[in-house]
């Protein structure tokens, strides 16, 4: 989230697309309702009439996978009707920037596409630079090659009739949504946009997200109270686990994991440190050398020196993608010996579960760490297999629950909140901290005693977390924050700061590239300082009245509660909306007041020291035109990989940079219905944490598939009938639930029915049921590889073995 949960109360219009907070983030609705009590409009766009939709002022139905058409139409509506926040767009976005004359777009394709490699040559899609090396710009935004004009042209194809024909939305509903939300493109209005997996789980998911961000940027809704692009994260610490780099392409703090041709620290830094010729751009990632060096110092301690490149050579280098789906493909092909799952359940949670379960049987060894038996830990005795055929050795380790250990988790609004240990772990279960510590210490012992492949990355790792039974979690948190490795003097403007060796770093601006500081995750620098554990704070004061609660827990970065907040003021530092002033420049005291600003510099108008507000980009301006996405600079509508419709906007049916896997089929004779998966309040993720909890099992005891009244009539189903649902990947059986929440979609005049199902079930635990992911395709987003769980084709019939 750019903003945070409580901030929803500051909105005038709340646009929910691709998420269902009333169901999946129920307490958030407290704040949505508070906004509604003050007159805010709630808009819900979803394929299903969800619990969120039932509370909405405006509901519009959308066919799964057509979000870019829907949002592109809104971008077009805002541009054509001049509803954009023009000052914001001119000053703070790349709308006035001139694009290379090579740029071209025809029939669904951008220029310079390599058919063989299925990639665009991004160089042809770059900014045109002036003689000073800065992007050329036209502040009138009238140059036909400026971003605003290219964008106008691109989205002019997304007129309301065309859009509604693609999305199946009723025109009057669509217009209501567009009018209500685009009406927030004024300085005195705030609109927030909420999304979740309905947006990301798509072969063009990143471009879906971009479309939401572009709309919010055009309306001047980023960086303001009551605004933002807010991804509602679904797991208690999926924000933190992402911050800490548990993804193949990342190291902690969104530093990139090294690629094969980053042969030494210098070439890593050269590759990943963006440059700018514009002195008014803060270009925050220009600090990459400080952050990677401080990380290496945290990891290799005194062993990491300038002379040995801070042990950079110890880091593994990637070549290609090791995204989840690629790992599962490799496992299925027998290319992996071992797998460790820390609270993760790939037998249920990933796409194409049938293949995932077979893949597990190709492993030599498997370690699962969880509170329960999961489908993954018992895959070898799942229904329909003979255990003696499966040679995988399985270690099932019992983990402590959240009330049996101490540490922090980060919520969707980036608040890192401290939890305390209330009781000892049950039985022999142990905290994950202890388990990871044991893995490390025992492997290190082996490498200290015996020969082995390149032992130094392990034997030289700094691992000093006290002498207790398990690592002292406070020492770990302090290492994450970072400390000085020697006595250091830092001159910061007019102040001279003295730090002693071992002092905690106050915040990331003091991190250094010479090895004099450590920080295990730079974005969390400031979370555990000499003032103590900031994440444990419980001060309920709210001085701005905006619900920032600046002394409750701690929020990254530097306790800034709403990011990009320098875009909430004009270039003179005056709030666009004085009634909801998030920050304001005090000209007398020469400082910002309110939320922690995105950097201390004076307002942009200050010719000498002013900086642009979008500090994480080298050009300092929000990108309405993207430079580095694999599928091009503007979102373009493509159909999901399995779709009942042709692409009505171009002859390019699917995202051209995504390779089509084998077990995907758009044969609408075999698979006439749109399948989609979803979540519900009473269960959670793969169900491990809920399907053995009696109170929750009583509420939702069984797997079901949900269909419309019209499909039930057509098929002759009655409520409670046993049915089977089939896709190109597999078949599941479940009870049928017939509701008016689901309605067919109008696809070019033909009514196409949908089949909805929760994906929380499996064969382990108390409440068992078939897994919806047996049906879903293993094909993912061009940029992130997140699978297309939300839009596939299926058939549904009465019967099955359970009937």
């Amino acid at each position: 989230m750019t903003n945070h949960w409580i901030d929803l109360k500051n909105s005038d219009a709340i646009f929910i697309i691709g998420c269902n907070p009333a169901e999946n983030h129920p307490i958030s609705f407290k704040w949505i309702e508070e906004a509604m009590d003050k007159g805010a409009k709630l808009i819900v766009v979803d394929p299903r009439y969800t619990r969120s939709a039932s509370k909405a002022d405006i509901y519009a139905q959308i066919r799964p996978g057509t979000d870019i058409a829907f949002l592109g139409g809104m971008i077009n509506y805002a541009l054509q009707n001049n509803l954009i926040h023009e000052e914001y767009v001119r000053e703070y976005t790349n709308a006035p920037f001139i694009i290379s004359e090579k740029y071209d777009f025809k029939d669904g394709m951008f220029c310079s596409f390599d058919e063989q490699e299925k990639t665009y040559d991004l160089k042809s899609l770059a900014y045109e630079l002036g003689p000073d090396g800065k992007p050329r710009r036209d502040n009138s935004m009238k140059d036909p090659r400026c971003v605003l004009q290219l964008m106008k042209k691109h989205f002019s194809r997304y007129d309301v009739d065309k859009v509604c024909s693609i999305t199946g939305t009723k025109k009057e509903d669509y217009l209501k949504v567009a009018q209500a939300f685009c009406g927030t493109g004024r300085a005195d209005k705030a609109g927030t946009l909420l999304y979740a997996m309905g947006i990301t789980q798509s072969t063009h998911g990143t471009q879906n997200v971009r479309a939401t961000a572009m709309l919010q940027t055009l309306l001047g809704n980023i960086g303001i109270a009551g605004g933002g692009v807010n991804a509602l994260r679904g797991e208690s610490n999926v924000q933190g686990s992402t911050d800490y780099g548990l993804l193949f392409h990342l190291l902690p703090g969104y530093l990139k994991s090294p690629e094969f041709d980053n042969v030494d620290l210098k070439s890593y830094i050269d590759k990943w440190t963006p440059q700018t010729k514009d002195g008014r751009s803060a270009n925050w990632w220009g600090n990459t050398p400080k952050y990677i060096t401080s990380l290496l110092k945290a990891w290799y301690g005194d062993n990491a020196t300038q002379a040995n490149d801070f042990c950079y050579s110890y880091l593994p280098k990637r070549m290609g993608s090791y995204a989840y789906n690629k790992i599962m493909d490799k496992m299925l092909a027998g290319g992996l010996e071992g797998l460790v799952c820390m609270g993760m359940n790939p037998a249920v949670g990933g796409p194409d579960s049938g293949n995932a379960r077979t893949a597990l049987s190709k492993l030599k060894w498997l370690v699962t760490v969880d509170l329960w038996e999961t489908e993954t830990s018992i895959f070898w005795k799942r229904p329909g297999v003979n255990p003696s055929d499966i040679q995988t050795e399985v270690f099932m380790l019992p983990a402590a629950s959240s009330v049996e250990k101490e540490g922090s988790i980060s919520n969707s609004g980036r608040w890192a909140q401290w939890r305390y240990k209330a009781v000892e772990p049950v039985g022999h279960s142990m905290s994950d901290l202890w388990i990871i510590d044991q893995f490390f210490k025992r492997v290190r012992n082996l490498y200290s005693k015996e020969k082995g492949a390149f032992p130094e990355p392990i034997t030289k790792l700094a691992w000093n977390y006290g002498n207790g039974h398990e690592p002292d979690v406070h020492l770990v948190a302090k290492e994450i924050n970072g400390y000085f490795t020697k006595d250091t003097t830092i001159v910061d403007k007019d102040k001279t700061l003295e730090f002693k060796k071992g002092d905690q770093v106050p915040m990331f601006k003091y991190l250094q590239a010479d090895g004099s500081t450590t920080s295990g995750c730079w974005v969390y620098s400031g979370s555990y300082t000499k003032e103590g554990n900031q994440m444990a704070r419980r001060d309920q004061s709210d001085p701005t009245g905006l619900g920032l609660f600046p002394k409750w827990s701690w929020c990254w970065p530097v306790n800034r509660r709403i990011i990009y907040n320098r875009a909430s003021v004009n270039t003179a530092g005056e709030p666009f909306n004085p009634k909801r002033a998030l920050i304001a420049w005090d000209g007398l005291e020469k400082k910002w007041k309110g939320d922690v600003p995105d950097g201390p510099w004076p307002p942009m108008k200050d010719d000498k020291e002013g900086k642009y507000p979008f500090i994480m980009l080298p050009e300092g301006h929000a990108r309405l035109y993207a430079l580095d996405l694999k599928d091009g600079p503007f979102p373009e509508h493509y159909e999901p990989m399995e779709s009942p419709s042709r692409n009505q906007l171009s002859r390019t049916q699917n995202n051209p940079v995504v390779k089509l896997p084998k077990n995907v089929s758009s044969d609408t004779v075999k698979f006439p219905f749109i399948g989609t998966t979803y979540r519900m309040t009473e269960h959670w993720q793969t169900g491990g944490m809920t399907r053995s909890v009696p109170w929750l099992v009583e509420l939702v005891p069984d797997m079901f598939v949900e269909i419309s009244e019209s499909l039930a009539k057509q098929k002759g189903f009655r409520k409670g009938d046993k049915v089977k649902v089939t896709t190109e990947r597999g078949t599941i059986e479940a009870v049928v639930l017939i509701t008016s929440r689901l309605k067919p979609f109008n696809v070019e005049g033909k009514m196409i029915e949908q089949v909805g199902m929760p994906w929380h079930f499996g064969y382990a635990g108390t409440a068992k049921g078939d897994s919806a992911n047996m049906l879903t395709p293993s094909v993912g987003c061009a940029n992130t590889s997140i699978p297309e769980f939300k839009a596939f084709l299926c058939n549904i019939e009465k019967g099955g073995s359970k009937a």
Partner: protein, 190 residues
């Protein structure tokens, strides 16, 4: 006695006041107006389900969880919880929780109980064997036909975890990369 929900929550808040300021485990006031938590220890926690980050109070007695409820002082949820959050008690107290280390031998049709020491030693051995066997010092880049040093363990993958604490995620990341594991992934990719 006609107590409103709000008054009731305020009562709970008072009862836990000492705890609520620090959040650390401490004794609820003996003057607590809410009889059911009188004399119990209380500490704060954050819900382990979705990422709203609601606060809860955990009440314990003699090392056992007696009650868990919404933290009325938490600014996000103000004491309220959804059905999952309200069920946290049954995560803490649940006979289906794994209590022992279990091992399944290749081809076997059952788990057998093992000690932590036994299992961890075996796991460390497996990790080392796989690392030693599949460690790739260099790899050919087909695009320029050159060998590059990659220092990577290709024979194993580490998954997880969005359910881990930040400090656990950090050590997991640190350990994974020290092991040379490039194939580190978790729920955020799904």
């Amino acid at each position: 006695m006609g107590m409103s929900r709000r008054q009731f929550l305020q009562g709970g808040a008072l009862a836990a006041a000492g705890v609520a300021i620090s959040g650390k485990p401490g004794e609820a006031s003996v003057d607590s107006p809410v009889t059911r938590i009188k004399g119990l220890k209380a500490s704060t926690t954050i819900c382990p389900f979705c990422a709203v980050g609601c606060g809860l109070l955990v009440h314990t007695k003699n090392g056992k969880v007696i009650n868990i409820e919404g933290d009325p002082q938490h600014p996000i949820n103000q004491g309220a919880l959804c059905s999952k959050g309200s069920s946290l008690f049954q995560i803490a107290v649940n006979e289906k929780r794994l209590q022992k280390v279990m091992y399944r031998a290749p081809g076997s049709d059952r788990f057998e109980e093992k000690s932590w020491d036994w299992a961890l030693d075996k796991i460390a051995l497996r990790m080392k064997e796989t690392r030693d066997k599949t460690f790739k010092v260099s790899e050919l880049n087909k695009k320029d036909n050159k060998e590059y040093v990659v220092n990577r363990t290709d024979g194993m993958a580490f998954f997880g975890g969005a359910g881990l604490d930040n400090e656990e995620c950090y050590l997991w990341s640190k350990f994974s990369r020290a092991m040379g594991v490039g194939q580190l992934e978790h729920q955020a990719r799904l």
